[in-house]
């Protein structure tokens, strides 16, 4: 019998034979997009450190990816990743985590990492709900949705993550859905190559919690929903606020160059060490 191995299997830990995600979860699509991006760039997994927080999507790299992986406390992966990058600027540092982890409990770290422009690639899986803990309202839950903790419909307004991180000054911001794996992969590649902070927001399906709460349905219906309700950013620009209501704006929001933090640290040290050695010689 011939055993056919998944072409990305070489990037996962040999002893890890299954994941913790539910059937139909979008995590698999995002995990593949990350690994395919690394594969297409021809990079080595040993040049990466993957950092994640708490929540379903934090289990994308840990324990699956065959690389250095740091699975941290709730909300803090960006803060840990900042230390990893400054401690080892030559490594690629990637954060994979969810909307609750990175924008509710950990929102401040995300904003400040974007402001500092530290060279970290953040793949933020936005499923609009707390999946692991049983379907509670998230800052990204659409207003009016009935969830476990908003049984009469959530009264709060949803956060626009990509807009927030654009405002914080990140040089690369893009949003796609799991219906757009190729575009998602391309943006992750650009994020990895960007010398600076990159946010790739992946709107993803949680059929078990969000699909049920929204009555959209299972994975297939949710992907269909993403297809039907996604609008490219350039097209959305010409639309009224009312027309954009309930739509998912996809595409690249920012792609620019900006002085990065860890390289400035390296440069300053180099300069001061040279000055010191000149001083000692003279």
């Amino acid at each position: 019998m011939t055993v056919i191995e998944h072409p990305l299997r070489k990037y996962t830990r040999p002893h890890v034979k299954r994941t913790t995600t539910c059937p139909g979860c979008g995590n698999g699509i995002v995990a593949q997009a990350i690994l395919r991006a690394i594969d297409e760039l021809g990079l080595n997994m040993d040049d990466f450190v993957f950092v994640s927080g708490i929540g379903c999507s934090a289990w994308i790299p840990s324990p699956l990816f065959a690389a250095d992986t740091l699975h941290t406390t709730h909300g803090r992966p960006v803060a840990f990743a900042t230390g990893v990058k400054l401690g080892r600027p030559e490594s690629y540092v990637m954060v994979a985590s969810g909307d609750g982890d990175l924008t509710a409990i950990g929102g401040n770290h995300l904003i400040h990492a974007a402001r500092r422009n530290i060279d970290i690639t953040v793949v933020l899986v936005n499923n609009g709900i707390y999946g692991m803990t049983g379907g509670q309202t998230a800052p990204t839950t659409p207003r009016g949705l009935t969830t476990i903790t908003s049984p009469y419909g959530t009264m709060e307004h949803a956060l626009n993550i990509s807009e927030m991180i654009t405002a914080a000054g990140a040089p690369y911001v893009a949003r796609w859905t799991t219906y757009h794996p190729r575009q998602l992969t391309r943006s992750i590649k650009k994020g990895i190559q960007k010398k600076g902070f990159a946010l790739i927001e992946a709107v993803s399906q949680c059929p078990v919690q969000f699909g049920r709460a929204s009555k959209i349905g299972k994975a297939v219906q949710m992907l269909q929903y993403f297809k039907d309700n996604s609008i490219r950013v350039d097209k959305a620009a010409g639309m009224s606020e009312q027309e954009r209501q309930g739509k998912i704006i996809i595409g690249e929001f920012v792609d620019t160059e900006k002085v990065e933090l860890s390289s400035q640290w390296v440069e300053l040290s180099k300069q001061m060490m040279e000055e010191e050695s000149c001083h000692v010689k003279s």
Partner: protein, 385 residues
């Protein structure tokens, strides 16, 4: 003080916080993170100047949570890392101090203690965090905490803290009170060749953590730091000795908690340091930090007046010096515990000493004010008459 480079070896007149900063770079520290807070700020102010020419840097974070997390991240990236704050910052850091314990991360945390609870008084010292540094994070664990009593101790103990952190792969606290942080006194900086520097052990090259023991060795597992191809798996969730998450096996849950504790207690003789100056039959004053200075002065006055009084200084607060205190109490006439709080360490000292002799507690007349040696002398005469 020269602006950009470290102080040369020799005798200096230095503020405690500056002495600690000099000691940190002498120990090989290259990454420091922190958030401004009185009375600790001078430490990071000085290190932000000293670190770049040494190939490192200071990261001013958005809060103390980010400070501890980035220091842990830098440590896993291979740097000797430190964060410095005061009590309110420690309160914010507690969850991730537990992360450092659970992932066996070498790290130094400085808590320049101020008067509390809550925002309290920023610039007045108090030993109010003695229990919170040991028990503030949830779950069960052991911690190492050192208590400096002078600017010289600040220099010496921060070096020792880094060496203990690297030797045992643990977070180590240095907990001066604000008085010691802001005190200016003579500090002798030895020649570089006289300073012992310890660095963590790394595993032999290899790419599969399933073939290594990366965690939970009571004799300290080599640390698979990032970027060397070790493919380390690090999580603070319950994990086995390969670092792999396991939330179902009760024996792994047990060793996840017990082995890091065992690692510290097994080596307690190397870690615990006390300064004993007493003779059999003495009344012994037990103290630490700034209060020890009063205890020492009071003991001298008492001896000058013909009273038999000795001292025991706890230089290591955690792990607790239970054996040393029991040994002292066995031949003591009376033990008096002096603390600049309402008696945080007193129950522990009493538990170790009270079966041998009488044990009394003496706080300062006003909390936040160091004991007046005259008051201590009066207390000795009153209690032991």
């Amino acid at each position: 003080m020269s602006k950009e480079s470290r102080l040369p070896p020799g005798t200096h007149f230095l503020m405690g916080n500056y002495a600690l900063a000099e000691g940190a770079v002498a120990a090989g520290c290259t990454f420091v993170s922190g958030y401004p807070i009185t009375p600790a700020s001078e430490i990071v102010n000085r290190l932000s100047v000293l670190l770049p020419p040494l190939g490192g840097g200071f990261l001013q974070t958005e809060d103390e949570i980010s400070a501890i997390c980035s220091a842990i991240g830098a440590s896993w990236a291979g740097a000797k890392a430190m964060t410095a704050t005061s009590g309110p910052g420690i309160s914010l850091m507690q969850e991730n101090i537990g992360f450092a314990v659970a992932t066996e991360t070498p790290l130094v945390i400085v808590d320049v203690q101020r008067l509390g609870p809550s925002t309290g008084v920023p610039s007045v010292g108090m030993a109010g965090d003695v229990i919170q540094v040991a028990r503030g994070s949830h779950g069960d664990y052991q911690i190492i905490a050192l208590s400096p009593g002078s600017p010289q101790d600040m220099f010496d103990m921060i070096i020792r803290a880094f060496n203990l952190a690297e030797t045992y792969r643990v977070p180590v606290f240095v907990i001066p009170e604000a008085f010691i942080g802001h005190m200016r006194e003579q500090v002798v900086i030895p020649d570089v060749s006289q300073i012992q520097r310890v660095s963590r052990k790394l595993p032999a090259p290899g790419t599969d953590p399933m073939n290594r023991r990366d965690f939970q060795d009571p004799d300290v597992a080599p640390m698979p730091v990032f970027g060397r191809g070790f493919k380390a798996h690090v999580t603070s969730s319950c994990h086995d000795e390969h670092g792999m998450r396991n939330l179902s096996d009760p024996t792994i849950m047990h060793s996840f908690i017990t082995r890091p504790i065992e690692k510290i207690l097994k080596h307690r003789d190397d870690i615990v340091q006390v300064e004993a100056e007493y003779a059999p039959g003495d009344i012994v004053l037990v103290a630490y930090g700034s209060v020890f200075r009063s205890a020492k002065a009071a003991a001298q006055s008492a001896r000058d007046q013909g009273l038999k009084v000795g001292t025991l200084q706890l230089k290591t607060i955690w792990p607790f010096a239970e054996d040393e205190i029991s040994e002292m109490a066995q031949n003591a006439a009376h033990v008096i515990v002096l603390e600049n709080n309402m008696g945080q360490l007193f129950p522990y000292i009493k538990a170790a000493a009270a079966q041998y002799c009488r044990v009394d507690f003496m706080g300062p007349k006003l909390l936040g004010q160091i004991h007046d040696p005259e008051d201590v002398l009066g207390f000795i005469k009153e209690k032991c008459a």
